[in-house]
């Protein structure tokens, strides 16, 4: 694994101090960190879950629309932000790593570093409801 860029390091350090749930992905879309507040939404401690590759998101979280229709991998919140390099706001159902299905609302924002380097993205997420 490569040394993280300082902007990513600073974002992680900020997130680790916040009570707002924050999820961070790198420029490949791999989930590289979520903070303690987000553990309640993800359903597992980050230290236990570890990093999650982008191609594992769908299998791990099974995101769906309100009617139960699966959300394609490229249409998921952070994937759209990484691919389109733009902020996205949306809501979706997902199954946490604790097995609980939750309605989650989130806003994802591209992380652009010095000299316009695209480093990844981060999302602020909230649990709205659960089954």
């Amino acid at each position: 694994m490569a040394q993280r860029e300082v902007e990513m390091i600073l974002l992680r350090q900020l997130a680790s101090e916040l009570a707002t749930p924050v999820v961070i992905v790198d420029d490949a879309g791999d989930l590289v960190y979520f903070n303690e507040a987000a553990e309640a939404v993800v359903g597992r401690r980050f230290e236990d879950a570890g990093e999650i590759r982008r191609d594992e998101w769908t299998a791990r979280f099974q995101p769906t629309l309100a009617d139960g229709a699966p959300i394609k991998s490229e249409d998921q919140l952070l994937a759209e932000t990484i691919d389109g390099r733009r902020p996205i706001h949306g809501s979706f159902w997902m199954r946490g790593l604790d097995g609980v299905r939750r309605l989650v609302e989130g806003t994802s924002i591209p992380l652009v570093g010095q000299n316009g380097r695209h480093l990844g993205a981060f999302a602020l997420i909230w649990e709205i409801d659960r089954e």
Binding site: Q3, I9, L10, Q114
Partner: protein
């Protein structure tokens, strides 16, 4: 070492031994290549020491806080028409390196404008440039944890390696460095170098009152050096309030914190080290 002090110059009888000038380090290659690391007040004496045979100087700025550029206007090579001067440093989101330097090298802060300097001046943005070569040296830079765009440098060549991170707070927001090496600012730059010149501005007692100011507590610096697997640590950027006696106490205490696993050689103005082929010759 032409300047080892941090934040502001601190001349006086109580700082005579470690020195009162702010950050400036000279790196010389066997072929005469001259790298100057930062342009603190120490750079004035360095400039005065250079002979007429010199044709090129490369000045590597880590960032543009005043203690790292204050000596720039008094660096003699800038006023020599026969000299090629390359200044390397980070730009910011909205201003390039030239615009940043112009803020200092222009009235009312300074009487001579950057564009009026007689030397052959070339400016380079190190964040955009990626790795670069000067003489026999290969140089890498990376943004590191310090307020505003700030880089550290890794210089390799002639059988030796040096990392220079004079202003660095890798433990920002935490009680200690992150557990995972990939998430420690600057660690890849410093990995395995022969000489690590690193910020050690505060004692552990002082640090909690200065979190976010961009500098390290001595215990963070010692841990950073251990994790980087370096050969010799040069604690640098001494706090202006630390007298020679206080620095002696800090480094005696540092040496008693168990087996360090590397050499400890605090930065002293006027001292020098030979590395690589020249040290073995």
């Amino acid at each position: 070492m032409w300047g080892t002090r941090g934040s502001v110059a601190a001349p006086g009888p109580e700082t005579m031994r470690y020195g009162g000038n702010t950050s400036c380090v000279e790196v010389r290659g066997e072929d005469g290549t001259l790298l100057v690391l930062d342009a603190g007040t120490g750079i004035r004496r360095l400039g005065d020491s250079l002979g007429p045979e010199l044709r090129r100087v490369d000045l590597l700025l880590t960032h543009l806080h005043m203690d790292h550029i204050l000596g720039l206007g008094f660096f003699d090579p800038l006023f020599r028409p026969d000299l090629e001067v390359h200044i390397w440093g980070p730009s910011s989101i909205t201003l390039d390196l030239r615009d940043h330097l112009n803020r200092y090298l222009s009235p009312p802060l300074f009487p001579v404008r950057l564009r009026d300097l007689p030397c052959k001046l070339h400016l380079h943005d190190v964040v955009a440039s990626g790795p670069f070569s000067i003489g026999n040296f290969e140089i890498n830079s990376a943004l590191v944890c310090h307020p505003g765009p700030t880089v550290g440098y890794r210089i390799e060549g002639e059988g030796a390696s040096v990392a220079y991170l004079p202003d660095h707070e890798p433990a920002l927001g935490r009680a200690a460095l992150p557990d995972d090496d990939d998430w420690v600012s600057g660690l890849a730059l410093a990995r395995g170098v022969d000489l690590l010149i690193h910020d050690a501005q505060y004692t552990d007692f002082e640090y909690p009152r200065h979190v976010g100011w961009g500098h390290s507590a001595i215990s963070h610096t010692l841990e950073f050096a251990r994790r980087a697997g370096i050969a010799t640590l040069v604690p640098f950027h001494h706090d202006p309030a630390h007298s020679d006696a206080a620095l002696d106490r800090i480094f005696v205490e540092a040496r008693t914190q168990g087996i360090l696993g590397y050499g400890l050689s605090p930065a002293v103005e006027g001292e020098s080290s030979k590395l690589g082929r020249s040290a073995r010759a």
